[in-house]
Amino acid sequence: MLKPVLITLLALSLSACGLLGKDSRSTRPAPSAQEIPPAPVATSRPSAPVPTPAPSPTPPEVVAFTPPEPPRPAEPPPRVETHPRAPALARSSTPPLAQNTSAPQGSPAVVALLQDAEQLLERGQTEQSAARLERALRIEPNNALLWQRLALVRLEQGQLTQAETLALRANEFARGDRRLMARSWRIIAQARSQRGDEQGAHEALQRARELDGAALG
């Protein structure tokens, strides 16, 4: 009679281990919102209660963003004059190569709003925090960090589908910032786990870990 119970327990613990992996920070199957390392906001607050990811020793290599480049055989230079369109679209897609931190590239206005949002979130005023982030997004809709923080607020509020969608949206703007993308996947993992989708959570965490590994070189 005990056997199935034991097997279930074993399976559960194994899956928990699988979820835990080598992530020493995590003690639960999926990271909690607090454990999702928040992006270092460019604030000078003395007591930042949030862990800041260690700076990467090597700049993360940029993946999968190809500037428009015709196939080499004929080696034609990009025909900017005759095709201003392709470069125009693609130029905006060029990842910021030099950027190896996830500090917000935002304007002072966005940084100010982001700081407010962080403080409000710490005080548990989640909806006020969301309002600040939406204000900031109106100024910089392409700022991945803002979408990610909004995803985190929705996660705190238990709006799991929104949290996941917003985190995915954040990664559309990540422009090769692997650490930021990894954080988004941890948010997604948490949202899926809270929804009871352990398999999905596991996959999301797997992606986060791959990205982390790649980011750390």
Partner: protein, 781 residues
């Protein structure tokens, strides 16, 4: 009359009951005394209901306040794309005046920048203080922003939002509530000097004033002076009737005494300042000084000068008789008399008074309309509010509704539509007024906020709102949905996939055949998927849709426009489905935002009249398409504006700012559409006729020019959808859909999902090039 003073309330009257007296001699006194007592008792009994009435009126008074609808506040920060002209236009909408910026509501241009003395505003997420700020511009953006007094630079600040509508009942009172401490003392001085000099001394009735008035009126033989105190006037305003009976006067007097007994002078004065009737705007009654200041001068109370205050006080005596807009001379004389009385009472020095006397009335030419200048947008707001609030609540609770309307964008949209329709009519020799149109503008990426709605070329006219209510066939505007359904299968379709544009006949179930034709009456053989969209070919699109399966297209359509399930007929593939311009905007918003659709919102938040947050309408996202597929689609829609059906935009818009869009035209040229987006704005334009006759225009010649005119002042950010992971751009030969190089004549850059690039070189490139394979193709990561 004196008797009423001794019986202010029943409890007090009870204590007046005399002790019982014995002895018949006292009868002589008792009879008249009983008479007096009976009179007193009757008065007490008479006063009881009046007391209840006046107290209920005063304390339970919940002024029915209309909901106020505000536009978005303009956020100022360094880097904001904004010209000085646009800022001045915004300040104009907010009724800022040019001045020395000592007072709020003033601005001036100085040293290449603008100094504004802002009014401040209590926003839901924090108070924006009134302050003097200096704004500098460079290259079409704000380059510096600082506080003038502290000299510090500001990160971000907001101007107050402009009031765009009030939600009234059909008839009724309107007011802007003010607190006593917010009313300038000089206004109160002016009021008391004119209307009630003994206000702080009398008990509700000023008998000397009554006497003085009576004498003056007797001498003049008509009513020239009133003896009513502020308290009496307040009572009169509470129960405003035209009745001029003695009984009413008597009741008013009793109630005035009762009010004074129960409440402080400050309470009574504050109530009066908010209650007094000061004007009429159609069926809307203007009550209180807060609203009257706006109604006559477009100023806040704190921004009034002596002559303004005197005029408001002057109007009290007869808002219709002394209406400064209809009877300026009468109003001027009365105003100057008020100024004299202020001097006589020592609340204004004679130098200031003579200065004020020399000034004109200062009344704005037209009364600010209680009716909204943006009826189409406000209708959208009301529809979205109706889901959450009952109509009575909107009309009476004084809710503050903060919307997403961008007045600057709205004005551009209005100008673009009405000017361009007039031009089209002139150019085509159409009778003026033949064409109609609608425009919807939203943000591209930051969560589906509706910035502008135009529902009629008569933009201020609140008639049929075509933007929200005109259901029209969308024609080729549907094609992006068909192509999106294809591109979501990257293993089957790329932008370079060749489609068949040869004649097509579809046998329908009931025996008829459906044979789509192209607009140019030609067939084009093999065309790339991108070209089929860029040139808006019907035949190849129909064939593509049929091979995808109509159900597939319907499903994709419903994802973009929730709740809409068009019938799965082949004609759907060419746009035989009716949508409103607003619904089209929802459909394209998902594409413009990279596959993440947000329900279009016109409201950000609703606050109670005290400023407490009642409801937020937050940003929410729904993924409606694969971002990679949407990226490819946007590349094709961008090509539409470069060399396709919307190529004429090249002559209108700056070429370094990429835009994307699609034209649409329906049978017999009845409806002409353009839906397009930049990195910042999505706009949908419909041009057609109310009688559904042919316009003689296509999407490219009707709606597109309106769109171009609208985007010209707005286009600050070109397309900036970041490419999803694994997207690569290649030069493609348009004939074959294969990889091209410089040797090829007609080539196009196309993005591909990494794993599905064309595997071969086009013949034009082949002689020089070995066929690329996975190892050979140099892809720079």
């Amino acid at each position: 009359m004196p008797a009423s003073r001794s019986s202010p309330n029943p409890r007090h009257a009870a204590r007046l009951r005399p002790s019982r007296q014995r002895g018949w001699l006292w009868l002589l006194f008792l009879v008249p005394l009983l008479g007096v007592l009976a009179g007193l008792g009757a008065l007490v009994l008479y006063s009881i209901p009046l007391d209840q009435q006046i107290r209920a009126e005063f304390e339970g008074r919940r002024w029915a306040l209309p909901a106020r609808v505000f536009a978005r506040p303009l956020e100022l920060y360094v880097g904001l794309p904004l010209t000085q002209a646009a800022l001045e236009r915004e300040l104009g909408l907010l009724h800022y005046r040019r001045g020395d910026t000592q007072a709020t509501g003033e601005f001036r241009v100085q040293d290449g920048g603008v100094i504004i003395h802002t009014r401040g505003f209590p926003f839901a997420d924090g108070h924006e203080p009134a302050r003097r700020v200096r704004v500098h511009f460079e290259g079409g953006r704000i380059s510096r922003l600082g506080d003038v007094s502290s000299g510090e630079s500001l990160g971000i600040m907001r101007l107050e939002p402009s009031l765009i509508a009030n939600i009234y009942p059909a008839h009724g009172e309107d007011r802007v509530l003010v607190r006593l401490e917010d009313v300038p003392q000089s206004l109160i001085d002016a009021l008391l000097a004119t209307e009630d000099r003994k206000f702080y001394e009398h008990l509700g009735i000023d008998f000397i004033a009554v006497f003085r008035a009576a004498v003056a009126n007797l001498q003049a033989g008509r009513t020239v002076q009133g003896g009513s105190t502020i308290t009496q006037q307040l009572v009169k305003n509470y129960f405003l009737t035209r009745e001029r009976s003695l009984r009413r006067k008597f009741n008013e007097a009793i109630m005035a005494l009762l009010l004074e007994r129960h409440y402080s002078k400050a309470d009574i004065l504050e109530a009066y300042l908010n209650e007094v009737y000061l004007g009429q705007d159609g069926s809307r009654a203007i009550h209180g000084f807060g609203l009257a200041a706006q109604f006559y001068f477009q100023r806040h109370l704190s921004e009034l000068s002596a002559e303004h205050m005197a005029l408001l006080v002057a109007v009290i005596r007869g808002p219709s008789y002394y209406d400064p807009r209809r009877h300026p001379q009468r109003a001027l004389e009365r105003r100057n008399r008020v100024l004299d009385m202020m001097v006589a009472q020592g609340v204004l020095d004679s130098a200031s008074a003579s200065q004020a006397r020399a000034r004109p009335l200062g009344v704005t030419e037209k009364a600010p309309s209680g009716i909204t200048p943006f009826p189409a947008f406000v209708q959208l707001v009301r529809e979205q509010l109706r889901r959450d609030y009952a109509e009575e609540v909107l009309q009476s609770e004084g809710l503050l509704i903060f919307t997403t309307l961008d007045p600057l964008v709205q004005l551009y949209a209005e100008e673009a539509l009405s000017n361009r329709l007039r031009q089209l009519e002139t150019a085509r020799r159409l009778e003026e007024g033949t064409l109609q149109g609608a425009v919807v503008v939203t943000t591209t990426d930051s969560g589906g906020e509706v910035l502008a709605v135009v529902g009629d070329r008569q933009v201020r006219y609140a008639g049929f709102n075509r933007a929200l209510n005109a259901q029209r066939p969308i024609g080729s505007l549907i094609k992006p949905v068909v192509f999106l359904a294809a591109l979501e299968r990257p293993q089957e379709y790329t932008l370079a996939t060749l489609l068949d544009d040869d004649p097509l006949e579809v046998r329908m179930p009931h025996g008829a055949t459906w044979a789509p034709r192209n607009y140019d009456r030609q067939f084009h053989g093999q065309v790339t998927l991108m070209d089929a969209l860029v040139r808006s070919y019907n035949v190849s699109t129909a064939r593509l849709g049929l091979s995808l399966g109509l159900e597939q297209v319907v499903t994709q359509f419903e994802r973009m426009v929730p709740g809409k399930w068009p019938a799965p007929y082949p004609s759907l593939l060419l746009g035989a489905v009716e949508l409103t311009p607003f619904e089209v905007a929802q459909m394209y918003q998902g594409i413009a935002a990279g596959g993440y659709s947000a329900p279009l919102r016109a409201i950000r938040e609703v606050l109670s009249t005290e400023g407490a947050l009642l409801q937020r309408y937050p940003l929410s996202l729904r993924q409606v398409a694969d971002p990679a597929a949407v990226y490819l689609l946007t590349a094709a829609l961008h090509e539409v504006t470069r060399r396709g059906t919307a190529a004429s935009l090249q002559n209108v818009l700056p070429r370094d700012k990429a835009v994307a869009g699609k034209t649409g035209t329906t049978d017999e040229l009845r409806d002409t559409w353009f839906a397009g987006y930049s990195g910042e704005h999505l706009a949908v334009v419909w041009v057609g006729r109310d009688d559904n006759q042919s316009t003689g225009l296509t999407g490219a010649s009707g709606a597109l020019p309106v769109w171009g005119d609208l985007m010209k002042p707005l286009l600050r950010r070109g397309l900036e959808q970041p490419p999803p992971q694994g997207i690569e751009w290649y030069l493609i030969d348009q004939q074959t859909g294969l990889l091209a190089n410089d040797d090829c004549e007609q080539t196009t850059w196309m993005p591909f999902v990494q794993a599905f690039i064309p595997s071969d070189w086009a013949p034009c490139a082949r002689p020089a090039s070995p066929p690329p394979d996975a190892n050979d193709t140099p892809i720079i990561f």
